[in-house]
């Protein structure tokens, strides 16, 4: 069987959702398009691209993208800072700015050489014309504007470097933040990362950025105000324009976080109408942001505790049930053990997940897991592989905790069991007391006497270790045996032979 995908790196294989941000573009109103990872990334063969193109799945391109994200974070931090504290900054940052701009300019050019995944066909499009058309018609203009070195060019022509207009053009660079935004959108869908951690990191980033920006803007307002003593910072620090950059920046941040968290000591507060208006806008934003933070945290808390809560509810239901009905302690213990075992062995939503899989997939899973065990059983010796395949498809795996009863003596023979692993005792009531009659080894059948002869089960079966057991209902077994007459007869004769051998013993 060809394993065509085995040549993709194992790193990429476990990452079904990390197919570049191309699937997010033009997502429009369709939530699904935004939510779901590209199907192609994992199932396609590594695409054979035209010579001069760069695969979006190339690890080097991934590294380049991560490097750009770091530059974006730097931009987001330095940009408001320059905007507010420009006058006092040394020349160095501007040089750094130009270097950073250079990298983004390279990326703009590079984008023309990176194929994209078409949202309809889920195929990689490597036609250069289509790539160019797509980029030019979407974000090209914004990318160019946010990268254009307005400041350096203005320096070439005139020397009025403090003009507010130029500063505003610098703010365009914040457009680059969309890269961080789409990174978080991707990471949230990636199960390799903890959802709560990603979500919290995102919220903290937004909060920090808001605090940083608000602090810078508020300082700018004070800095531009004609009367320095009638400003929020000048009221407590009259000669603030001569103070060091660090002191002024920390004071701005301090005001910003004090307002954001609604602590509002009042040692720094708006002194003039401009500051009041900015404060009004900032506080309204904070109201919304705080509510959003709390909403997200509640969401995470509710989701993270849901499993513990379900477990508690279940155990409590069992406790109440046994207490109300005064069940003997042995049954209560079995119940609690079974519930514990079930929560331990079964993942969240596992049954739901199995239910939505198509039949053929469930069949191949069962075949892979149980075919050898079933084939090795004495009852199915000499039976065609098609028969065993049909049988295995209908089987279900169950776990039994130690001391749990699998079947009771005199029960209706409704199911046939097969012990996959663990250990099971055979018990029978003799002279009014329960006596151990034998043991079932791994790979042996349980209850086949009742099922094959359609009589009440002659024995009680009880697990003594944690046991995994396959179960098939008698009616399904009989259906399959009737449809495959020959195999059915083989099974019957196998059973008769075993019975005779046991009688001899």
């Amino acid at each position: 069987m060809a394993r065509s995908s085995s040549c993709t790196s194992s790193w990429a294989r476990r990452l079904p959702c990390f197919d570049g941000d191309s699937s997010n573009r033009f997502s429009g109103r369709n939530l699904a398009g935004d939510l779901l990872p590209s199907l192609g990334a994992t199932t396609q063969q590594p695409p054979k691209l035209r010579k001069y193109l760069v695969s979006p799945y190339d690890p080097r391109y991934k590294v380049w993208e991560i490097f750009l994200i770091l530059l974006v974070v730097y931009s987001a931090w330095i940009c408001p800072l320059e905007f507010a504290f420009l006058r006092y900054l040394p020349r160095a940052p501007f040089v750094v700015d130009d270097v950073v701009n250079g990298f983004f300019a390279v990326d703009i050019v590079l984008t023309f050489f990176v194929p994209y995944v078409d949202s309809k066909s889920h195929l990689l499009v490597d036609d250069p014309k289509k790539i160019a058309a797509r980029y030019l018609s979407s974000w090209f203009v914004f990318d160019v504007c946010s990268t254009f070195p307005f400041h350096s060019i203005s320096l070439l022509f005139n020397r009025h470097e403090h003009s507010l207009g130029l500063k505003f053009l610098n703010v365009l660079r914040l457009w680059r933040l969309r890269r961080v935004s789409s990174l978080f959108a991707r990471l949230e869908k990636d199960i390799r990362f903890n959802y709560a951690v990603i979500r919290c990191t995102k919220l903290i980033s937004v909060t920090l950025f808001a605090i940083h920006c608000a602090g810078c803007i508020n300082y700018l307002i004070a800095d531009r105000y004609p009367d320095p003593r009638r400003t929020w910072i000048g009221a407590v620090m009259p000669d603030f324009r001569e103070a060091g950059l660090w002191v002024r920046y920390v004071t701005s941040l301090y005001w910003s976080i004090t307002t954001m968290t609604t602590t509002g000591y009042g040692d720094l507060h708006a002194e003039n109408t401009r500051e009041m208006l900015f404060g009004v806008a900032y506080m309204l934003f904070n109201l919304w942001l705080t509510a959003y933070l709390i909403g997200n945290m509640t969401n995470l808390v509710v989701h993270s505790t849901s499993r513990t809560r379900d477990f508690r509810d279940m155990v409590q239901a069992a406790s109440e049930f046994t207490a109300r009905n005064q069940l003997p302690q042995q049954i209560e213990e079995q119940m609690l053990n079974h519930i514990c075992l079930r929560f331990r062995t079964e993942g969240i939503k596992q049954q739901e997940m199995l239910d939505i899989l198509p039949k053929a997939m469930r069949s191949s899973t069962s075949l892979y897991l149980f075919y050898p065990v079933v084939q090795g059983s004495y009852l199915f010796k000499g039976v065609s592989s098609g028969f065993i395949q049909q049988l295995v498809t209908e089987m279900q795996a169950e776990y039994f905790a130690p001391k749990e009863d699998i079947m009771l003596q005199n029960d209706k023979p409704s199911d046939l069991y097969l012990l996959v692993s663990g250990a099971v005792d055979i018990l029978a009531f003799l002279d009014g007391t329960e006596q151990i009659y034998g043991k079932v080894a791994e790979g042996e059948l349980l209850g086949e006497i009742g099922v094959m002869s359609n009589k009440p089960q002659p024995f009680t079966f009880r697990a003594t270790k944690l046991s995994q057991i396959l179960r098939i209902s008698r009616s399904k077994l009989m259906d399959i045996m009737q449809e495959n007459r020959e195999d059915g007869q083989t099974i019957s004769s196998n059973f008769q032979q075993k019975l005779r051998m046991e009688q001899r013993l």
Copy 2:
């Protein structure tokens, strides 16, 4: 088939919930009446009204309603402002007020000529007497009071324009806000608009209005206080009565939002008992409003992330399942792909939605979608249309991702498949290796050999592209064939003919 509704504008058609606020009136205790859109709006023919009546579905009436909403917003903003800062305002707003009042007066008259939708029969009532009786017995009095130009009339009789009593009468105009309230109630039910956006807009509007009102009232209290220096604003701005309107208004807003967000810098605070009492009331209201904001935000966050969370849980369940059972990588890949595909192709609650539809509606959907495809299949050639209709009604559509198995060799022939779109490979184990035996074209059947001859499937079928496939269970097919003997024989002979042709090849 008459498409009677095709003459209604497409804009109105997609808007099942925008049937005027008439359905909200008298909603009483019945939640359903309030929640659900009028049934009549989309299914009725455009009503033929009496000559002088105005249809509530008339686009011009809609425009008039939207224009009134804008006037309401203006009223809500100007009314507290006049109430608090009246003395210093120029004459102009009062003229504007009278004009606005005029429009509302026109609306009161107009309402007598607009039919309403009866909440029981869901029919448009255009009897003028009933319209009048309904309006007079409900909101007529409030509408008149909120529109009556008390202020202008008082000016005619005396000149004491600052009397507080008149101001309070102005506040009656806030009654008009019920229009905004019912607009939001309608928009929330309208799926053309994003629920989160509408809900946030509503909350922001309420917050802004509360801030505006509280600021104005607090200023009024200070303005009326005998000792200006012992007021919240006079303590920091002793000559505040001489200050400009803008400064005073911004300061009021600033105090208001500072208190609302519980920032409470303390630069402006209550100085006398009156202000303290107002502060107590306002802060209590804020406590409630903040909790309501957070509650709504949590609700929105939980709802908006539920799909991503479900997807993550499902993928994680699959990962854990495959890891625990050490399934081969090929099966894991198929599982993850299938889950991704399912979330991509199936909308939220789609299955639930289809389940509540009546049988006839599901039948007509199936007929519309699949009748031509099924009719074109070789097996159903010459079969009566009634037979195909019954067959199609029982069919279910499924999607298969590339490399997913549709059917396994040796499987029980439980289902018949029909490839609608995509591509499927036919595979068989020959000499221990899987070999491609052929391909299934769009419109061809899968697994009919097993189903018709009731033998294990001779081939494995595997999708090679994203494929849409119709599925019908063998038992249902056999039931329908037995009930339609003739058609059943046609199908059998079609199948025999095909087999013979293939054997010749």
Copy 3:
């Protein structure tokens, strides 16, 4: 049939949960006992009590209880006030106190004459010894302590009325608040009242009480502090002990709410260690209370919007489904209408509610609602009432919106319908176009030709008005007919007769 409970007042009948607070006593760890209303209250005959006993269901006793609740509210307000501002209060309140105490003393005596509902048997216990034993062993001591007039008695012996010890004894009166607490617990379970309103009222009451108490305690701390200028109130109002009670009380409240809502202007703040410690405790409590308020509000918001959200999700699923499959507009309209109709006609959890009812109850509901309609149908003329009863029990009611198809031509005859109300058109394809063939009147059957002769339905049935229709599946009808041979033959002959009459026409 005896309607024994018809003599209980209709007010009490609709109030299954208002069975006095007796069921809450000794509730212990059993949640159910606390949650659920007493069963006895509605089903028992008005109990015949011993002569000198007072029924807890007596309206006069209810009035007495409500009167006591009002006194409790007064106590809760006056008690902290006396505790803090005692020295300056006139003599009057103490007299009022003694009167209030008198009423509570009367209630203590009265409790010995009020039977209680036993939590196990759900029967009213009117044995005076048991009543006394129960009260004496539970809350008697607390009730007496909280009612004992320590203050008045201390006045008899000595005149040191300001001793703090006595004040603390007064605080015992807050024990009475358990009555308010149990009132809210009852009201929350009473569906006559809106849950959100009750819950909000409870939270607001708790908040107001906390603010009131904290204000009083904080004032007491300042009042007792040796240096008045080093207190939170003395720092801004040096001669506060001479100020009026109103001013001091409002200032205390203002500080209290400012701290509670975390506004914290800072104009009033702790000045000494004692005040700081109280502030620390109060702020910790506030943190908890605010979180609890927000949690409750979120809970209410989530619950109240769940129905609108479900409706939106459902409509959106239908829209996406039709858009993706490009279904014709007619089907989309039918779908949207049906979903709207379903949400309109069906209450929250109605289906779930019906599912948990026992079979006999569902049967009697069906019998009451549908027996006359089914009996009047021509097909069931001359049929035994037992047969109709069995038939009716299996029937299900459905609603169809105008223009919705009930059955399609050529469909499998799987169900028989009976039009209860509304109007339905009979349509058939003739010469390729759909033509109206007739109309179904209320009380007539739909699709009986297909069902009785087991042929595909010859007609399409389409609702033209909002129609209520009963549905029974063909298989169930046939089962019942087979079990009642005679009635089955009557039905067959009724059907043949009808067919012959129609053929003549």
Copy 4:
């Protein structure tokens, strides 16, 4: 039947989750391992350990663990206090510290002698080498570092006790807090404790610890600042270094809680850059902590009110249903009573819990509860115990409220009932009125005449008291009778005999 676990103490038996913190170690990425209690703790026999080992289930070891927790709490309180206020502290605490350290040193040694539960086999490992290897490779180093008496040793060598480095080493002792953390993790899963209480205690502990730490750190910053007047405490208390420890500690706590709750009076606020930076960090942490608190509280509120809400929704659905369909009052009463009864008798998630139990466990529960009752019934006299066992396994218990109908006259005989407890009237319509025909005693059958003779039920059965009733469907009874011919005939003859006896009467 051996009750091997009966010798474990009842205290430990009811505590399925309290199996020491060993299961939490190395929990890794597997949530289940962290969530679920060890299976072994309740089912294993008390382990026979090597002589010198200490059982982790030994009550004395539990007491030792709880004692250590108390020491941890003390450490967590004293450690930041020493860190900040060291210079002024007397010598005593250091001695206490050394004693506390001694106990933890003992615990380190002890850990080498305590077996642990292996996370895979769920068996107790008592091999000393494995115990040592496990401890040495996990937390040994941290435990030693947090216990090492750096401070005392430094005193031996030099006398510079105020060096900040040593203080930081003291902070290592906070590592011990992991014990508290794992204690809470265990308690949350232990159903003997209320989840809400445990969760709230945990959150309050975290809050208090954060407040305590922040207060101490902020004081330390002020204490170390060169200019005491430019610190947050020195600005209002210039000679704070001379003030008493209590005053300084309370002031620190007061600042801390004022900031934590975002009250922010502003009387104490940052005065220099260091304090501002710490404030920024602390406020960011508070934002997160507050959101987490609210999220948890919301979670608890939503969970705790879910049952009341479900009950209300259900009752409201019933009320709306009866109101809309104008059902007679008698049916409405029965419905409401039944819903109340159901919520009273059935725990949360009980049905869900029973569904996940394996069949054998449900069978043994049924056998234990109902075997004697069914055996005593006249119909099953002389029947084999295997037959009764099969019958009992299929039976379901139901509760009926007084006046509720169990079966209606003329109903299809679909179920056989057996009255376990309570009282039931037999009613029949005679001459158009309902007349009481007889009574059913406890242990008697209901409706066996209809079921055995397959005729409509001749009587109506109505509960007159709260009744518990067993139900088995007729089809299952007939199946079992057919499979056990002899027993079936016994039953038939029992029935005939009874009928004849009744006819004689």
